[in-house]
C-alpha cells in the first residue's frame, strides 16, 4: 500500500490515495477507512471555527482554514459529520504544503477515481463541493497577494 508523503506533488498524492483504495474489496471497507480518517483528523481549534471559515451545507457543515508558510499553503478543516470529515481529511492532505500555483493548476481527481463521486455532487449538499471551491479560492487569493 502506498502512503501519501509530504514530498510528493499533488498528483502523486492523489495517485497514492487511489492505489490505497484499490485494496478495498467493497464499499464497507472504503467507508470504514474514510471514517477512521475522519476520526484521526484532529479537531479544528475553536479560534478557527469561525463564521468566516464555515461552509454551510444543507446536510453537514465544514470549516476550512488556510495559512501561508514559506510560499506554501496549509489547510486545516473540520466537519460535524464523520464521513464528510474523512473526505476532507484526504482533500487537505492532498492540497496542503503546495504553492498556490500548483493548487490552482491541479484538478481534484481522486474522489472521482475512488468511486465517491456522489459526495462531490452539488445535490449531496454536504458542503464538500463548496469546500473544494473555497480551497481553490484561497489559492487564487494568496497567489494574487504574493
Amino acid at each position: 500500500m502506498m502512503t501519501v508523503r509530504d514530498d510528493m506533488s499533488i498528483d502523486e498524492k492523489q495517485m497514492a490515495l487511489v492505489e490505497t483504495f484499490e485494496f478495498f474489496d467493497d464499499w464497507t471497507d472504503r467507508y470504514e477507512h474514510i471514517i477512521s480518517l475522519g476520526k484521526e483528523l484532529p479537531p479544528l481549534s475553536d479560534e478557527f471555527k469561525t463564521e468566516a471559515n464555515l461552509i454551510k451545507g444543507c446536510q453537514s457543515q465544514v470549516w476550512l482554514h488556510a495559512e501561508m508558510k514559506d510560499g506554501k499553503l496549509f489547510f486545516s478543516a473540520d466537519s460535524d459529520a464523520i464521513i464528510t470529515k474523512g473526505l476532507i481529511s484526504m482533500i487537505i492532505q492532498v492540497f496542503s504544503g503546495h504553492s498556490p500555483e500548483e493548487i490552482i493548476n491541479t484538478e481534484l481527481s481522486f474522489i472521482d477515481r475512488i468511486g465517491l463521486k456522489e459526495h462531490l455532487s452539488p445535490t449531496r449538499s454536504n458542503g464538500l463541493l463548496s469546500m473544494v471551491k473555497q480551497l481553490k479560492f484561497y489559492a487564487i487569493a494568496f497567489s494574487a497577494k504574493s
Binding site: 464499499w27 467507508y31 446536510q59 453537514s60 464521513i83
Partner: protein, 427 residues
C-alpha cells in the same frame, strides 16, 4: 420516554403483516410501481422517502404519456374537438378532486403547482383583504417552511404579528394550546394536518371549531395527511385545505387549493394574465370568477390529468386497506427501531402518519443516511424544511424513514438491519 405499543397490539400487527392475503395484495401493488424494481448501489431499492415524494403507479405514468399522445391541446380556448377533449379531462379532474375531498362545489377546487404555491396564493390574497397592521397570524412550531415563511413574510410586510403555537415533548398540539394563543386581534390560523418531521396529526376539526367561534379563518396544510387517510373538507369545516399531487402518488408540479366558495369569491387574484379574465379593456379588466381567476396562464394540464388518475387509483386501492397496512408498518418499525441502543425517536405521538424521525446518540444523521444509501435504503436526513422543530429539540437534523402502502415488513427489517450495520461501521 416513548411508550411501547402494548403486547396485544404487537401480536395483532404481526398477524396482519404475516397474513398471506395482505402479503399477496402488497406484492400486487408493488408490481404496479415500476420504480420499486430498481436496484440502487447493487441492492434492491428500499424506498422510505415517500413523505418527500411518493412513487407513481404505472397507470399515472401512462396517463400522462397518453394525454400527450392522444389529447394534448390547450384548455378553455378552442372550438376544435381536441381542445374540448382536453378541457373535459381537465374539468373532470376538478370534479374528481371535489368528490375526493368532499367539497360542495367544483369551483372550490383550484389547481396550483403544489402546496407551496397554494399557500403563497393564500398569503398574497389574504394579505390584501384580511391582514392589517397590528393583526395577529397564528401558526405552529411544527410547520413545514412552506406553511411558515409565507406567513412570516406577510406579517413583516403588514407589520402584523406572527404568533407561534408550541408543541409538547411528544410533538403534539392540543386544541386548547391553540385556544390559549387566540386574542381579539387574531385573524388567521395556518396549521398542518400532519407534521412531515414528527408525524403527529392535529385535531383539525376541533381546532376549526375553536377558531370559527372567534371568526378566525383556518388554512390547513394537508400535504402529509392526505396520502394516508380520507379527508372531508365539509366535516373538517376548514376554510382552506392545500396539498400536492406528488406526495399523493401523482406527478410533480401540480397541487390543489380547496377554498370555501364564499371566501374564494372575495380573494383577489394572485397572478394576472390569460385565462383568468372575463373582459379586458384598455384601462381596466374584469376578472373571471373562481377557479379560473386563480389559474392564470396555461395550466399543467397533463399534471392535473395524472393527479386525477392517482386519486382514482388510491380510491380503488381503498383507504381502509392503506390505513390498516400503514399503521402496522409504523408499529412494527417503531418497535424495531426502539430496540437499537442510543436511538431516540423524535415525535412520539400515538397518533401519527407512517413516518419515523430519529437521532442516534453521538452520530450525525448525514453519516447514517449515507451508509443506508450504500445499502439501497432511501431515507431522508437533515432538517426536513422544519428548522423550528430542530431548534426545539436542540438538534441539527434527524434521519427520517417514511412509509407508504407499497412498503413491506421485509423492508422494515432491512431498515433495522441497515441501521445496525451503519452503527457498527460508524462506531
Amino acid at each position: 420516554m416513548h411508550t411501547l405499543p402494548n403486547v396485544f397490539k404487537f401480536f395483532r400487527m404481526h398477524e396482519t403483516l404475516k397474513n398471506t392475503d395482505t402479503i399477496r395484495r402488497i406484492h400486487e401493488i408493488r408490481d404496479e410501481f415500476p420504480i420499486l424494481r430498481e436496484m440502487v448501489n447493487g441492492e434492491p431499492l428500499v424506498y422510505l422517502d415517500s413523505a418527500a415524494t411518493a412513487q407513481k403507479p404505472e397507470v399515472v405514468i401512462s396517463s400522462i404519456a397518453n394525454y400527450y399522445r392522444q389529447s394534448n391541446s390547450n384548455v378553455h380556448r378552442g372550438v376544435h374537438s381536441l381542445s374540448q377533449t382536453a378541457t373535459a379531462l381537465y374539468e373532470d379532474a376538478r370534479t374528481t378532486v371535489k368528490e375526493f375531498i368532499n367539497a360542495r362545489y367544483a369551483e372550490e377546487i383550484i389547481f396550483t403547482k403544489g402546496t407551496t404555491d397554494s399557500i403563497n396564493l393564500l398569503a398574497h390574497g389574504l394579505g390584501k383583504i384580511l391582514i392589517d397592521q397590528g393583526d395577529e397570524i397564528l401558526t405552529t412550531e411544527m410547520e413545514h417552511h412552506s406553511n411558515f415563511v409565507p406567513w412570516q413574510a406577510l406579517a413583516l410586510e403588514k407589520k402584523a404579528t406572527l404568533k407561534i403555537i408550541r408543541f409538547d415533548d411528544k410533538g403534539e398540539i392540543k386544541p386548547s394550546d391553540v385556544e390559549s394563543m387566540i386574542s381579539e386581534k387574531t385573524r388567521l390560523l395556518a396549521i398542518t394536518h400532519a407534521s412531515n418531521t414528527l408525524g403527529s396529526i392535529n385535531d383539525i376539526k376541533e381546532i376549526v371549531n375553536i377558531c370559527h367561534a372567534k371568526n378566525i379563518l383556518v388554512v390547513v396544510d394537508g400535504a402529509q395527511y392526505i396520502p394516508h387517510a380520507q379527508i372531508d373538507v365539509q366535516d373538517l369545516n376548514c376554510d382552506f385545505y392545500v396539498f400536492s399531487a406528488h406526495k399523493l402518488f401523482g406527478p410533480t408540479g401540480t397541487g390543489v387549493l380547496y377554498g370555501n366558495r364564499k371566501l374564494l369569491n372575495q380573494l383577489p387574484p394572485y397572478q394576472t394574465g390569460g385565462g383568468m379574465i372575463s373582459e379586458v379593456g384598455l384601462q381596466s379588466t374584469e376578472y373571471a370568477s373562481s377557479p379560473q381567476v386563480f389559474e392564470a396562464g396555461t395550466p399543467n394540464i397533463a399534471g392535473v390529468v395524472g393527479m386525477a388518475v392517482a386519486i382514482k387509483y388510491l380510491q380503488e386501492t381503498g383507504y381502509a386497506f392503506i390505513e390498516a397496512h400503514e399503521k402496522n408498518l409504523l408499529r412494527l418499525a417503531t418497535e424495531k427501531l426502539l430496540q437499537i441502543p442510543g436511538l431516540k425517536i423524535i415525535g412520539t405521538s400515538e397518533n401519527k402518519v407512517p413516518l419515523i424521525s430519529f437521532v442516534v446518540k453521538g452520530l450525525h444523521p448525514f453519516d447514517i443516511g449515507s451508509l443506508l444509501d450504500q445499502m439501497g435504503i432511501a431515507v431522508r436526513t437533515g432538517h426536513h424544511c422544519t428548522q423550528p422543530i430542530m431548534t426545539r429539540y436542540g438538534i441539527s437534523g434527524t434521519v427520517r424513514a417514511s412509509f407508504a402502502f407499497y412498503n413491506t415488513a421485509d423492508e422494515v427489517e432491512r431498515l433495522y438491519q441497515g441501521i445496525l450495520k451503519a452503527l457498527k461501521i460508524l462506531s
